[in-house]
Symmetry: D3
Subunit: 258 residues, 6 copies
């Protein structure tokens, strides 16, 4: 009964649950790939972002449309266009936060929402730069990881391993900005935001934020990752009790009884 | 010509600037405390928050008024009332960020603005708890430091040295909550937010945030401290150049030429 | 044959040892809770302190009786009385040193013995304060953990998780001291000793010891925990050889051949 | 007598040494820039590499000439040509090791000598890659710092501050390699060597070496920096005694009496 | 069928491979120690250094023969003679790099090759001291570990556990040097090289290198350990892909497709 | 008026205090070394241990006399005899705790008092080993530092710099023990206690304590150093206030108002 099936496909299995020595076993009678007639949708078996990719993509574009600085607008929109396919299904990580179909886009769009609010509180922040930085800070994750259209990461790419998405992102912005003749300082500021968004050397950044937009970008990133993980953990925790230890947070979280 | 003058008072000095061996010297002819006739205001000589304390205090109260949970409302409003005098002039620190007249209140009010926005992005957050946590997280700084009405910290209090404002704040909330018969869990959650707002043991917190409102509180605090310090440093930096190293940030900041 | 038995009860099992595929198996014929007729004592199945709880409790009281300062005496004796039931059976930890029936009391009593000796060497130490600090430093472990009368910890309490026994202990002393009208500074010094007994932020203390009694308390605690763990490990190690790695110590210990 | 003189120029001063209150003072009678007639050479006043820049440059080229891989040869030689002016006078640092006229070139040439030897011991190392990596690992220091022709660094450039020579170097190799149509993997390996040559995040590298040539590059760099600093410190230390603490090494060095 | 066989002996097993529940099993029919008639050599089953021990030992002696300083020569040759048996088969570690038959000698001989080259680049280094330091830096591993003639470490010795090979090596050199009346400073310098070759306290050295020969010794040791581990990992990795994570390096290594 | 005076001698100075530009100045009229006629004693100008050296030396000997194990007794008494001169005046440090005339002996004698008490609490401890370890743990400080008979350290010795008193102490015990034919394991245990008394690599110990006597030795050392520093700081602090920051402790200490 040795057959080979496609990775990431749905199988239809007919089997009997038996018990042997206290353990349940599956005694398989037949196994075959689903056909169109089965009416199954792979999406139903895949963890996905709570919002539809197309809707989120529209939101992303509406934020790009608000960027008034022509250099930042051109750099950002050119790069987003270049990656428009992957943006619709890539996760934001292989295992950590937002490791779901459409997770990359969901993370970015939520961060843009946060950024929009924070600029209202600190009007001296450069809104265009912050939007550009948010959209581009993880753009090279789309090159760092090799994911299929289900949003499942098979592995890191060779360049992803050897350079990482921070350095890859800097190179990408640098080249695109040069190719469209953008103002060098604006390109540099975006590159700095990408390079510094992990904040410290020991957390992966070769430089610490030196402009307020880069500082804010880091914290927006941290907040959204933590909120994602905490919300997910709490959704399977009973009121008045603690979750299991959440691996990405390194601790348990508490769901209050209110 | 040895007289003693009051600390933190304004003096009127009549003097001649001379030069000796390349250094300028002040040759004092007369020196006396100012009188009402001089028409000087001590506030003009003191770094103060950009907003008027009374206006900020009204904003603080409007946020308290939005807290719907009666336990959290009672705990927060009772404590704020108890500290209403100090709230109007205390700085948030002896030397670091917001070390200015009214700095404590300015920090809290700005953080409330941030919290209000962030709850809009993550509606599963408990708004009442977040507001309460923001208002109370540094409340015991008013007991930890001994400041005069000019907002200048003379020293830490004995209890401030021996326990610190995190532990002092927990004790305060615990006692007030008990005295007004508040729900124990709500009191506990506020205490946890105070105890964990420095995030890690090595940064001073005996516990790490275990509820999302505590996690967000930490980052709001970090963002507002950094924005304050960066904005202040950039305001005296020329376009296209770097500031001096900012002591609280441990780095220089860059003012772009845009 | 699915029955439910009480957790932490003794069962009488009649079974046959069989071997299948090289592994021994227990083939159960009958299983039932023990009855009085069986004459079994749960204590025989539970790791316990080497001394009887009642005897240790008397020793504890004799040390309390030596406290001459009325404020410290009142605070300490009031709290000990409040916890007198738990004191008789609580362990000092869920897994680490002194995780045995009566372990909390055994740890405290041994530490008091150490403290008594050390004061003789450094007579400038305040004996009353040191005794009070030793007795109260871990008092809130009785609230932090949820243990049954066998001295087995089921879990940490919600407040234990969210605040921890250092902060809980400070609150407890603060309230009791206030309720009996004790001198505020003496209460504060005891609170400082509780808060600082883990010594550093990264080890869990929000403050470092600032009085010599707090410094000594920390080291007495370290010595007794290490002696307990080393003695336990060596008792099952052959002369002239090393123990297995002791988890709490992070190393092996050597039993000399003398 | 207020005149302005050019920074980094030689002045001819006529003065009298006087003593006032125990301190020696220089009483200047006349001061003027040197003219050609004075026959002074700025080089005599500037710390310089022990070898002549032109000779070192020839050695550099002889190593480039040994690179057999055409992609690595093209990338390396194109970049060296582009920076040929600065290479002749740049220091390797503002303050640390090799902070001298020609220091950058001296550091690289010595490292090449080391690399040549080490490949003989480990023949599985790719010699071409190692030579390319050595030559390019610090190439962007020529862009990171703003130095004059005396080899004195005035400041870091804006891009130097915001990205640093590791990221700048990766970008440079990436662009040059692409422009000359070099094999992408060879370009990537050189970029990885640049990015990882500080070894760890906390030492400034976004990636740790993952190929043996990158690993060796790091240690060659460390050896040459340490040998430079130790040799310099020992040259002013008496036999049988210790130097002052060397800032870059964080310790004293000992000159044996042999 | 319970027999006891000698540890580290070769067994001749006759068995049938069966499959049960998807797992392969070995069904043993007969098992016995090999006899001379079987013509098996234990060496074929043991990982060994790529060079023959006798040849490597000759190389070691040729380096000793190059030491001109009589004190260093005497100390080194006396100690090597004393350990000549173990030197031929000891590994350099129980589990890490060079944990193979003859691994200790292979590590030393390769390091001597490196040292020889590096002295050519930095002629101010004392060649005799460096050779002596390389040969003796790990000499006490032969006392620290208890290995059999197959180069397999059974355990650490008691003294190895309680002092470690750095301190043991210092004591050894000290005593031998004294017994042969060697110059005290030369003995001391060799002891310092042994004590400092792990570089930092947290890496196991009670002192940091304070002479350039000790500094270089550390890096030679690091390079050879890394080259051994990387070369070994790459030899089982396909071109253009990454190895599994190498435990001793804490990362994957990449084998380029060239 | 340039004369040279002996270091560490007393001078008799006749001078006038003048004031110039607000600063007080000493206008020296005559200066000369004291003579016997002046009746001054250098000891009055030197910080010394609170006990007389001869008395402390007797106490030390009484502890040695209590060591029943003949090997440990012989090793300890032989070494103490060898260093009997220095023991009477050496400080325990150049700058830190017990940096006073007789400080080494004062530290040891107080630690012995502590050790005596602690063995009473933990009778499984080997008293002989603990006494031996306490007496010998810092014995090589007498070789590590170069102090004069006033107890003032001029510098570290060359061997002190290159090996440190932990390694020097191990060598010393090893040689003396061998010379008197002591039991090797007892010698080894004493060496382990010396080597591990700084507890961790980053605090200077190449090995962590693996016997309970070594563990206790470390804590006795820490307690006595802290008590010395705290007591000294508190003796110049007013009741109810904090000391200046104590350099060796890294914090202020509080003197309670009791």
């Amino acid at each position: 009964m040795e057959k080979e099936f496609l990775e990431n496909s749905i199988l239809c299995v007919k089997a009997l649950v038996k018990e042997w020595s206290g353990n349940k076993q599956l005694s398989i009678e037949s196994i075959r790939p689903v056909t169109d007639l089965d009416g199954q949708n792979i999406r139903d078996f895949i963890a996905s972002a709570p919002q539809d990719s197309q809707s989120m993509y529209k939101i992303l574009h509406s934020y790009i449309g608000q960027i008034k600085d022509q250099d930042i607008y051109q750099i950002t929109s050119t790069i987003v266009e270049k990656y428009q396919d992957k943006i619709l299904y890539y996760p934001a990580a292989q295992k950590n936060h937002h490791a779901i179909h459409g997770g990359w886009l969901y993370h970015i769009v939520t961060m843009l929402g946060l950024g929009e609010k924070i600029v209202e509180v600190y009007p001296f922040l450069n809104r265009d730069l912050l939007y550009g930085g948010i959209i581009l800070h993880d753009i090279a994750k789309l090159d760092e990881m090799d994911a299929n259209e289900l949003g499942i990461v098979k592995d890191y790419t060779v360049e992803g391993h050897l350079l990482g998405h921070l350095v890859q992102g800097v190179k990408l912005v640098d080249k695109i900005a040069e190719s469209i003749g953008a103002d060098p300082e604006k390109s540099l500021l975006l590159q700095h935001m990408i390079a510094s968004h992990h904040y410290k050397g020991e957390w992966g950044s070769p430089k610490t934020p030196m402009i307020p937009e880069a500082e804010v970008l880091h914290y927006i990133d941290m907040i959204d990752a933590a909120m994602y993980d905490m919300h997910k953990a709490l959704s399977t925790t009973k009121e008045g009790s603690f979750s299991e230890k959440v691996w990405t947070l390194g601790r348990k979280v508490y769901r209050s009884s209110q």
